[in-house]
């Protein structure tokens, strides 16, 4: 299958929407991607034909629903190279996944004074759960710094990891696009006797992923950024690690026995999936993974590298010093997340001006306030690229950006 963006674009109903006579240019996939028709169809079909509650029913529909959900679990396990489907725990989003890990693993393993190492480029989803443990348990946080190029500064890595219990780090920054050296970080963490959990929210949608090859212990990501529906996220963890973690939410499906005096927990993955799961959403995420697999993640990555290179080159050519593109300058070492500063137009105003031309980018702190502070910024306008974007989208962005001059009078 050749990677033909026009064909791909046609698979995404929303991208053909026309507003006020103009087509739309969607450049906010780092916040949330769009979905192909096949994902919508999979969910619709599930609801029209096979919906019933899972795991507990002996009748035909309940079996179909359970098979659909467990089939999706296997697909997702395969997609990230997980050795066992039962290591894939479904949550509602990456944020819940990280909170589950922090609360459950943290309660089992962390005590007052224990050290957790983060980086300055984390999303709030990988900061606030640890602040909460600082408040409840009294752990200590250390931060791997970010350098001027927007990469992790690993000079002091060994010192930072010394005596640490955990390293929790993003695989790709949602502000800078920086791809972090996860294998190296995993080795360093393990050498220091620490566990490593990785935030793959921006990574899984865009690069071939193999959790075993990365050498990590646990991994979180979210469905809606990888062509899947809202309402579903994943925590992957090694079996031994998950087995040793206490349960997080209590209720139906996660128990083996309940009496008035207590309860015992069910086996993986059920132990961490209390209550009725997001069945249709899990089925939808399975279809999203099918779509990505059919395209081939190597090709998705290649497309994005070349599009990112085009975007960086063409925006620089057109706007010169009037534009700043934050993050690594080398397209091959970053994702297609372009945090822009244009002249001294505030990012919020940039987004407003672009909106006039149906060009959709995000303005703000991107839930990474500590990083913004390190960068000395209050906000950026972020254009993010995905498999359905093409060079024409980048050109439209550039044209729309130029129109800010008319309004702000430069």
């Amino acid at each position: 299958m050749t990677f033909d963006v026009a064909t791909i674009k046609a698979d995404f109903p929303l991208l053909s929407r026309v507003i006020d006579g103009k087509p739309i240019t969607y450049l906010d996939s780092a916040a949330s991607s769009q979905r192909p028709q096949s994902v919508l169809d999979a969910m619709d079909r599930y609801y029209r034909e096979s919906h019933a509650n899972v795991h507990r029913g002996a009748y035909r529909l309940a079996t179909e629903a359970t098979d659909a959900m467990e089939g999706a679990r296997q697909k997702i396990a395969d997609f990230i190279g997980a050795p066992h489907a039962h290591e894939v725990i479904f949550t509602k989003n990456a944020t819940e996944s990280m909170n589950l890990f922090a609360q459950s693993w943290g309660r089992g393993h962390l005590h007052a004074g224990d050290v957790v190492v983060l980086t300055e480029m984390e999303h709030h989803a990988n900061i606030v759960p640890w602040h909460m443990l600082t408040e409840s348990i009294g752990i200590e946080l250390r931060w791997i710094p970010v350098d001027e190029n927007g990469e992790l500064d690993l000079t002091d890595l060994d010192r930072l990891l010394d005596g640490a219990k955990l390293l929790s780090v993003t695989a790709m920054s949602n502000v800078l696009g920086t791809i972090t050296p996860i294998k190296r970080l995993a080795d360093a963490a393990h050498a220091a006797g620490a566990t490593i959990v990785v935030d793959g929210s921006q990574y899984v949608p865009h690069l071939p992923t193999d959790v075993v090859d990365l050498g990590i212990d646990a991994f979180v990501f979210t469905g809606h950024k990888m062509l899947g529906p809202t309402g579903v996220g994943v925590l992957w963890g090694k079996t031994e690690l998950l087995d040793a973690m206490p349960p997080f939410l209590g209720g139906g499906d996660m128990i083996l026995q309940v009496t008035k005096d207590g309860f015992t927990t069910n086996e993986l993955p059920h132990k961490f999936e209390a209550g009725t799961p997001a069945i249709a959403e899990i089925v939808g995420l399975g279809a999203a993974v099918d779509y990505l697999t059919a395209l081939g993640m190597e090709d998705v990555r290649a497309h994005e590298v070349s599009l990112t290179a085009y975007a960086m080159r063409s925006l620089k050519e057109r706007f010169g010093d009037d534009i700043t593109i934050h993050g690594p300058s080398e397209p091959a070492s970053r994702g297609g997340v372009l945090s822009l500063i244009y002249k001294d137009v505030h990012p919020h105003d940039i987004s407003q001006v672009l909106d006039q031309d149906n060009v959709y980018v995000r303005a703000g702190h991107h839930c990474a306030k500590p990083l913004m502070q390190v960068m000395g910024l209050n906000a950026t306008a972020r254009a993010s690229l995905y498999l359905y974007n093409d060079e024409a989208d980048v050109d439209t962005l550039a044209d729309a950006l130029a129109s800010a001059d008319d309004i702000f009078g430069f």
Binding site: G57, A58, A62, D253, I255, L256, Q257, N266, H270
Partner: protein, 156 residues
Amino acid sequence: MAGLEDLYKEIILDHYRNPRNRGELETPPAVKAEGFNPLCGDEIVVFIDVDDSGTIADVAIGGQGCSISQSSASMMSAAIKGKTTDEARDLIESFKGLMSIHEKGLDGAAAEGDKPDLSMGDLSALRGVVKFPVRIKCAVLSWNTLAQALDDARTN
């Protein structure tokens, strides 16, 4: 689609109505293991009394459950009584092979285990269960509980 006659064979219903070795054994000398099916609430209690030569001298079955889990437990008790623990372990493996749809596909006929030599006796009547995948857990519950009891007997 599989018909109910594949599931509810006469011999299965017979074991369900007249369960063999129903009861309790004194512990010790017997060991006791409990198994739950968290989905449907089936409970199986297996008592085994292993003598010094490693033979299962006596066995008793307690608990509550559906026709499949109860008849499977009953047949199991009859099959292992007087067998050595090693033979019982082989039987567990054979039975689970019979029940393993994942490797064998859903066609009952092809679902025979890798060790069909071991005499399964009445147990082969349960072969039709693989056509009803949700019921496999019912059929296997007592066997997993037996495996646990055998482990416990060893460590005692």
